[in-house]
């Protein structure tokens, strides 16, 4: 990979995607969302039974709103930003750089996804350090697993939207698909929970946990909230679901890379 063209493209894409004050507005939203949720969690004081459960519940409560903001930011960059570049032919200019197609896509993704992720994780961890230093230091495993679980499904949506945008060559409809997928998962989780309870089986939730491993992690750590006979996975099971989830994310990204490198016609 040639460093300079990569940085040139990264700088150009980032400059376009994060025009002043977009980055600052999202930073403020992340910070406000995280801190307000930290305050709200503290005021309710609903700590789970174990220390690991309490740490997981704390991080889980902090990620809800900021992850939604992150999804909006990433979808805007991929569907709207890349979609526009494909439609207007800007992508052809980038392809004229002495750079492999896969590196070009990487530069694009570092800007579209990497910067948002960095901002989200940086602010979230800063809020955790400020409000609950002891929790993070004493329970690093549930803290890390909670972040991994919370980010898996959003990354899968982003990967799917990326692939769809590349295949369709435009971003409008894929933005809608991304938003629908994000909100539909919440409804589907509840429906599958009811279905599982009606059938007396945890199978629907187990299957869904492959794409939403945060469900497996929540059911493992949040004791007392779920009917024990339905499905309470062990830590090893929950970690396996998380690994499977990321495998799926990596697979969809790999297909998108292959398509961009070999099939994309500009």
């Amino acid at each position: 990979m040639s460093g300079r063209p990569f940085l040139e493209i990264l700088s150009s894409v980032a400059g376009e995607e994060y025009r002043f004050p977009i980055l600052e507005v999202f930073a403020a939203l992340f910070a406000l969302g995280t801190l307000v949720l930290a305050g709200a969690f503290g005021s309710t004081g609903h700590f789970a039974g174990t220390e690991e459960g309490a740490a997981f519940a704390l991080v889980n409560s902090l990620t809800g709103l900021p992850v939604m903001v992150l999804v909006v930011l990433m979808l805007k960059n991929i569907a709207y930003g890349l979609g526009n570049d494909l439609e207007s032919g800007v992508i052809r200019t980038y392809l004229s750089y002495p750079l492999r197609r896969s590196s070009l896509l990487s530069a694009r993704l570092v800007s579209s996804i990497g910067i948002g992720l960095l901002l989200f994780l940086g602010i979230s961890l800063l809020a955790l350090v400020i409000t609950s230093t002891e929790t993070i230091l004493s329970q690093p495993v549930p803290v890390a697993l909670c972040y991994l679980g919370a980010l898996c499904y959003p990354l899968l949506i982003v990967a799917l939207v990326l692939l769809l945008t590349l295949v369709m060559g435009r971003g409008g409809p894929t933005l809608l698909v991304g938003i629908l997928l994000y909100f539909a998962s919440g409804i589907l989780t509840s429906l599958l929970g009811f279905l599982g309870a009606a059938l007396g089986s945890g199978l629907p939730l187990r299957v869904f946990a492959v794409i939403r491993p945060d469900i497996a992690l929540q059911r493992h750590y949040t004791t007392g909230m779920f009917a024990d006979d339905l499905w309470v996975p062990t830590l090893a099971e929950a970690v396996t679901y998380t690994a499977l989830g990321y495998l799926l994310v990596a697979l969809v990204f790999a297909v998108a890379y292959l398509y961009f490198s070999r099939r994309l016609e500009t």
């Binding site: 700088s11 930073a27 403020a28 305050g39 503290g42 005021s43 700590f47 400020i130 409000t131 609950s132």
Partner: protein, 204 residues
Amino acid sequence: MRSRWIALMARIGSVLLVIGAVLALAAVTPPAPTGYSSSTGTSLRPGIYYANPFTRVYSASAGLRLVTSANGSLILYLIEAEYQEFSSWARSWIDHNFPDLDENRKVISTYNSTVLEAYVDAHPEEVLLEVEISGDGTTDYFPGSPTNITAFLSNPSEAWIDLDLRMAGISGLVPRERVTIPTTVLIIAGTILTLPWIAGKVRL
């Protein structure tokens, strides 16, 4: 190339400034009552303490507010323990040190300030706060991590003291004392990083 680096530093700086500003805003937002509260009025004999038996879990964001009104000086202790733990320790301490007292006297003696002081001496690590209060006052306390807290008010004087006490849960967005340093660092770093870009714009 140099101007690009200056622009990049300025953007990082502006983000740091925004985060610092949000933290500062969260820090100056005053703690608000969270709904539950308990009030009591009592007269404390000399050498007696009052304990609120309803231990609750408090945290860095969910604190405790004590509004006191007393016609004398009292010592307020916030102790990191369940009231039941304290109570059973006090009972065994009396059994051990005053084995000859009858049952009634033992129960009454549990409320002597000397028992509370003995507990404090034996468990100094559990004492979160020890302050003298008199007249009308408000004490807010946020522990560093999720903790069970029981409040005690001891009358060390030779006179009866009338006490009105209201305890309430309060919630703050972030603990102010923990935010001060990160906020200052973020704002200073943000300002330093944006200065070259601002200087360049002013020169133009």
